[in-house]
Amino acid sequence: MTATHRHTPDTPLAEAPPPVLVDLSGRTAGTEPRARRARARQLVSRTLVPFALLALWQVAADRNWVSPDALPPPTVIIEAFAELIRTGELQSAIPTSLARSLVGLLFGAFTGLALGLFAGLWRVGEELVDAPLQMLRTIPFIAMIPLFIIWFGIGEEAKITLIYAATIFPVYLNTYAGVRGVDQKLIEAVRVFGLSPLEIAWRVIVPTALPSILVGLRYAAGVSLLALVAAEQINARSGIGFILLNANQFQRTDIIIAGIIVYALLGIVIDLVMRVIEHVSLPWRPSLVPA
């Protein structure tokens, strides 16, 4: 071998700078209270920003930094909420709208998942499915409402079809990306056991791509809410999209903002639900540890 065997150290140890010792045992502190403290802090900071924005908003209104026409102060928005609740509109809108969103989302997610798997797993699937879906996703449905009415009528079907069409793509795209992102090595490892492509898909690829698929589902859930604003232009007498449209037509800035807040709150609820779903369906993922 090439090594020369010197028997004296290149550097006398006395000259070596003493290594700096760092104490890692501080991390030892009981984990239970730590976790509880972290959760508390999390709750605070998660709610802090929204509340800070709210306070800023009220101050801005009080000091006349913005005109109440441009942005009515929170107190006025609260009145708008009170009005929506007094008339019962809000209570009937939310279940109506959520039902529409949910049905559209279910079908859309199913279709997106199936197409995403088809395109992700088989090259021929990609070749057949991808181009039409890339086209589908850029269709501006809001500009197609008259066509939707002509094609699908003015019933619930038309509204749900619109939501359906809008939710396919996010699930498709993320399923596809998730499937393609599964480590080839894993797929090889199970392929040699003689699994059929379908079995590989079901037993290995779908579980492994699930985080990505769930991102798509989360996104689609948001889209299903957004699509309400288009869908509920079609012969709706209630629903949060309808409330917004109506307020829009009558320049009720306060109700528009109240409606947007309802949307935002539903967005947060969806997010929480999706977090729970992710937590339950991805037990193998290490709980998020920040870098």
């Binding site: 026409d69 008259p146 009415i149 003015i154 079609i234 037509q249």
Partner: protein, 309 residues
């Protein structure tokens, strides 16, 4: 050197801007005019409130609703917006708004409307046409199948595609179906005594600003001359509607006649009719309180719009 006055004029589509441009009436103005296209009255009103435009375009009912829902009541001193000019079609063959029925729905009398699918859209005088048609037929919304849609284009699409039996709204949008015999008129806006004016609404501070209001008066006078040009050049207008505004040839033919308009003076008669409309909306619950519509009308520009002095 004083800077030139500039008028920002809102309009909901490109029809008037295109025909005004073709008529060349705005050549040589001592001020600048810029058209701002904002579909829908809501966008026009927003732009007015935010001072993004000086003058907006809407139906005559829009300000009634604005005043009705205002948090602080309008007074002569604080009135934020005022109608400075109003116009409507000159051709009796084409009422501005209308209630029509599909021929295959076999609606002969007002009583036949009961239980029918009736398409309308909220806001503006389209909605008024629906409310007053119902009233005239002695019906309540519960007596029919109301189909409320987001805007005029959705409403006419639903009706033209046979998804509704009855339609209340802009006549031009269903005129082709009427001409084909698929639909027939039931009630016109005139029969319901709806003025159905298109109006220019100016900001209060624009009207009070001497330089701007002088420019506005001159602008309106020029638009009046444009209406004369329009009536004399129907072929040119039709061509503009097909080529520039992108209407179908059939629709353009109708629009040419339908949009042939003149300014109407904002006089006591008009204001009385508008007041009646406001009262109807209060009665129907669409407006929370009684209002005085005369506050909304500024008669100072009548001279410019009608050619008198």
């Amino acid at each position: 050197q004083t800077s030139r006055v500039k008028l920002l004029i809102g309009f909901q589509d490109t029809t008037l801007p295109e025909t005004v441009a073709a008529s060349k009436v705005l050549e040589g103005t001592p001020y600048d005019v810029e058209w701002v296209i904002l579909p829908g009255p809501a966008a026009q009103l927003s732009a007015l409130y935010s001072k993004a435009i000086d003058v907006g375009h809407m139906g005559d009912t829009s300000l009634i609703i604005e005043q009705g829902k205002a948090r602080t009541p309008w007074t002569a001193e604080n009135v934020p917006l005022q109608i400075v000019a109003g116009w409507r079609a000159t051709d009796a063959q084409y009422p501005p708004i209308i209630t029509v029925t599909r021929t295959d729905a076999r609606i002969e009398t007002l009583a036949d409307l009961r239980g029918k699918r009736w398409a309308y859209n909220f806001g503006g005088f389209n909605y008024l046409q629906y409310v007053l048609s119902l009233q005239k037929a002695g019906l309540k919304p519960a007596d029919i199948q109301p189909i409320q849609l987001g805007d005029q284009s959705a409403t006419s699409a639903a009706f033209n595609a046979g998804r509704a039996d009855v339609y209340s709204g802009n006549f031009a949008a269903v005129a082709e179906a009427v001409e084909r015999g698929d639909a027939k008129p039931l009630l016109t806006s005139d029969q319901l005594d709806i003025p159905a004016l298109n109006v220019f609404t100016a900001r209060g501070d624009v009207v009070r600003d001497r330089a701007k209001s002088e420019a506005l008066a001159d602008f309106l006078a020029r638009v009046r001359r444009h209406w004369d040009w329009y009536a004399a050049n129907l072929d040119t207008v039709e061509k503009i509607y097909t080529e520039k505004v992108k209407q179908s040839p059939a629709r353009a033919k109708i629009s040419t006649v339908y949009l042939k308009a003149t300014f109407r003076p904002l006089d006591d008669a008009v204001i009385a009719r508008e007041q009646a409309i406001a009262d109807v909306l209060v009665a129907s619950g669409d407006l929370p309180r009684k209002i005085d519509v005369s506050l909304e009308f500024n008669r100072a520009f009548n001279a410019a719009t009608t050619g008198g002095n």
